[in-house]
């Protein structure tokens, strides 16, 4: 199964990245974790996101489209980075996430979300027949 693994934002990740001995050490540690993911053959993609202050939102309401500039409130609901993994099941994904170094200096959260598969989507069309 393919999962998206989301690193949730914190006050720290919402600030621009600054290279310091601490942030560089944290990056290196995360790099080693990524190496392990690659060696296990499960890593498909990974990227880090810039703070939401650099982002935009488009709000939909009927035909209306409203562009909202970042930064966005509710920091903890934002995403700071992600991986795409191909794993056998959710347990395997959880086991890998537990091995991840804490992505933030303080308390943080990583969320695992399985991606829809063909079979999931076909269920709908079958019941619609």
């Amino acid at each position: 199964m393919r999962v998206m693994v989301l690193v949730k934002a914190t006050e720290d990740s919402e600030k621009e990245f600054v290279a310091t001995p601490e942030t560089m050490a944290a990056m290196e540690e995360m790099g080693r974790f990524n190496d392990e993911l690659r060696k296990a053959g499960i890593l498909l993609a990974a990227d880090g996101l810039t703070p939401s202050s650099r982002g935009k939102r488009v709000a939909f309401d009927g035909p209306r489209r409203t562009v909202i500039d970042g930064p966005f409130a509710e920091t903890r609901e934002l995403v700071a980075g992600f991986w795409l993994w191909e794993v056998k099941d959710l347990d395997e994904a959880v086991a890998w996430v537990k091995r991840c170094p804490n992505p933030m200096p303080g308390p943080s959260e990583i969320e695992i979300r399985p991606i829809y598969e063909m079979a999931d989507l076909q269920k709908g069309s079958d019941s619609g027949d």
Binding site: K39, D91, E92
Partner: protein
């Protein structure tokens, strides 16, 4: 980490570590079966201890140490048993002690990367192709014998026996679980690549049964290919195979039409092709080409990439594909390659060109009763407007295929040719 760990979580950690554990243990005890057993013992110990202690900081090393301790116990126990049973004092194997001591000395070693050695051993040419695939899925992929049996449409007992026999063959041959060097390496690597691609193809183009695709095998082969690319980052063909599998797997969501029938490449809905996998495949191909890739897998990946790059079937660069097939048949001479070359030339230069090339391979005994041959000829004839002859070929192909859904597809192509000659005449 004071909190205890659940059974389920412990097993998930074990699955991550299992292949490396078996690889490290097999190197020491020179026996896959024993290595697998010791790894399993380590899991049992973890299941009883981790709920109390929590997961150790380095679970892989912890499991390895537990397994090694069991190995020492087992060796000592065997030695005791031998002492009791042997009336005549025999010179007990000096190396029993040596082995136990060697394991004891290595107790604090880091978990090494012996995985590649185990992959090469499981794919050793001394084993049959089926045995290699089953053993690789078992010890590297961590599939159960039941899962392997279902994947290969076999029964569990047959697969279990195949694996047991393979392990015995390895033990008998005295294989060292090492990565071969020098001239042997290339030959042995091609065996490894062949096993991984066989697993992929068993999933991609299921040769029997009602399912045309068994994606779980494709996923497993993809994982093995990515693992291998990490372990052998300087080999063009390793990246060639990885590129080939990623690009082919990108089409999995589009290969089966809404009615459950096989969709030919040219008719697939390209919007459903997995762009993430295509991107990964093209990157792996670039890497293979940078490493001088001109081998069978790199060329096949280059072929797959021609399709992946085309935004629509009409955009396909058929002359380039035809040229790649001209090269491929040199490094990988095979009647099947020649058949596909004929198809490529028919697309690049017209059905007549395809029919000419087909004549050159049609008599090859390897293609006798090979459904894709009449299927291709049927397609060329259909496009040349020779419908009655095309119908005959599609009917022949439908009778030859073992796959129920492919048969349905070929019958529908036969029907599209209109009524048979006899009926038309009557």
């Amino acid at each position: 980490m004071a909190a205890g760990e659940t059974h389920q979580a412990t097993e998930a950690i074990f699955r991550i570590e299992r292949a490396r554990l078996i690889a490290g243990l097999a190197r020491i005890v020179r026996n896959v079966d024993l290595a697998e057993e010791l790894a399993q013992d380590a899991l049992v110990i973890a299941l009883s201890e981790w709920p109390r202690t929590g997961v150790p900081a380095n679970p892989g090393a912890w499991l390895m140490t537990a397994a090694k301790r069991r190995a020492i116990d087992a060796i000592r126990r065997d030695k005791m048993r031998e002492r009791k049973h042997e009336e005549i004092a025999r010179d007990l194997d000096g190396d029993v002690d040596d082995t136990a001591e060697a394991i004891e000395a290595s107790l604090d070693d880091d978990l090494g990367d012996e995985l590649l050695g185990l992959i090469f051993t499981a794919c050793h040419p001394v084993l049959s192709a089926d045995a290699r695939a089953a053993l690789t899925l078992r010890v590297i992929g961590g599939l159960t014998t039941d899962e392997i049996a279902r994947a290969f449409l076999s029964n569990e007992a047959t697969i279990a026996q195949r694996i047991v026999r393979a392990k015995k063959t390895i033990a008998k041959a005295g294989l060292g679980f090492e990565v071969p060097r020098g001239a042997e390496r290339a030959a042995r690597l091609s065996s490894v690549l062949e096993v991984i691609y066989l697993i992929f193809n068993e999933g991609y183009a299921a040769t029997a049964g009602d399912d045309l695709v068994r994606p779980s095998l494709c996923l497993e082969a993809g994982r093995l290919g990515r693992m291998l690319a990490e372990l052998m980052p300087d080999d063009a063909e390793v990246f060639g195979l990885l590129a080939l599998m990623e690009i082919q797997a990108s089409r999995l969501p589009a290969r089966i039409g809404p009615d459950g029938a096989l969709m030919p490449l040219t008719e697939q809905n390209r919007a459903r092709w997995d762009q993430l996998l295509i991107g990964r495949g093209l990157a792996a191909l670039a890497r293979a080409e940078a490493l001088g890739g001109n081998g069978p897998y790199a060329l096949q990946a280059a072929l797959a990439a021609c399709h992946a790059r085309a935004r629509s079937a009409d955009d396909t660069d058929w002359p380039r594909i035809a040229a790649l097939y001209d090269r491929l048949r040199v490094v990988m001479p095979s009647p099947v390659v020649d058949l596909n070359r004929a198809i490529a030339h028919s697309m690049a230069f017209g059905p007549e060109a395809g029919l000419v090339l087909l004549e050159e391979v049609a008599e090859d005994p390897a293609l006798r009763n090979y459904a894709p041959l009449p299927a291709a000829r049927g397609d060329f004839l259909f496009r040349a407007g020779r419908l009655a002859e095309a119908r005959f070929e599609f009917d022949t192909a439908a009778k030859l295929t073992r796959n129920a859904r492919e048969r349905a597809f070929l019958r529908s192509r036969a029907d599209a040719c209109g009524p048979s000659v006899r009926k038309a005449a009557g």
